[in-house]
Symmetry: C2
Subunit: 185 residues, 2 copies
């Protein structure tokens, strides 16, 4: 049986996944690293890595990732959504594949993941597009106890009809709260 | 001992407290009444009414309230923030007082509430201003399992520095999740 497409991320109560002015040097923006820490949270990293067989990222996220050196931490097939064609790039245990349509990227990622899950590595635009296209099975939000007041907002370009969810789990960590939802279709 | 200022509301996972195109006839906007139901939720109504001694609302919210007739359900002192001076209006068990500054409205509401809590009746702009001014003690969000994709967004005009919170409670209702936070200062 095929795995599921998981949107998993750390978000402030006001819906930001970075603080203001994110950049290559400060990817989580002003105040973001201390308050969102997606990579530094064992519970989040564990949720992402357990059972993940492939990752989909946008081009901007890939450009960040290139700075991670010759052996990026993915160690799985990664599908990069970009309009610029690019040959497959192997970096350590990670294989980067370049695909020019969101739906195709997820289709290839699900096949590559086999029975494991597909992780959406971001950014927010890719996550929103995948939700709108009905490609996401579960939404895992780690709600951080802060109002960032600015930054990159998730769910900011959904538009269209409401997308209804079903809560399938709640877990309390220190200091964040994991809300787990299934996307209803 | 004085009570606390409580921001309590029902919000979609993408941060909306109404659906798209709210109006006098459809105050919760398209799809909002079915998905947000702040007045129709016993757990939310209970949280609001238990121990509330005064309410602060913005002028637009008051204009909605006027449609509720001669005995509005507040049955307590209500402080309306408006630049237009207006004499006190008594409607059944509710007294409407008109105040032209946000901080003054909360100050008067806390005195009127005595040992009870002050409830922020909305709209979103008044809630954001109260948070930014440091007037809110607790944030109670009932997270509804839906992505509305549009409407009136809470926490949309906070700006400024991050406002850090401390989670003080989580409760699972069907179908929403109550996240309770203390505002750190």
């Amino acid at each position: 049986m095929a795995g599921t497409v998981q949107l998993t991320l750390s978000m402030s109560l006001d819906g930001y996944i970075t603080g203001p002015d994110p950049s290559y040097e400060v990817p989580l923006g002003a105040g973001g690293a201390e308050r969102l820490r997606p990579g530094g949270r064992p519970e989040l990293a564990g949720t992402i890595l357990a059972g993940t067989g492939a990752t989909v990222v946008g081009r901007n996220m890939y450009d960040h990732v290139r700075g991670w050196g010759e052996d990026p931490p993915f160690k799985m097939p990664v599908f990069v959504i970009t309009h610029r064609p690019h040959p497959v790039r192997v970096a350590g245990a990670t294989t980067f594949n370049f695909v020019d349509a969101v739906a195709t990227a997820f289709d290839l990622a699900k096949r590559a993941a086999r029975e494991k899950d597909v992780y959406i590595g971001g950014g927010a635009d890719i996550a929103d597009q995948a939700l709108r296209l009905g490609l996401v099975d579960e939404v895992n939000v780690f709600v951080e106890p802060t109002l960032l007041g600015g930054g990159t907002r998730l769910f900011d370009h959904l538009g269209g009809d409401p997308i209804d969810l079903e809560r399938i789990g709640v877990a309390e960590y220190d200091p964040n709260t994991h809300l787990r939802f299934r996307v209803l279709r």
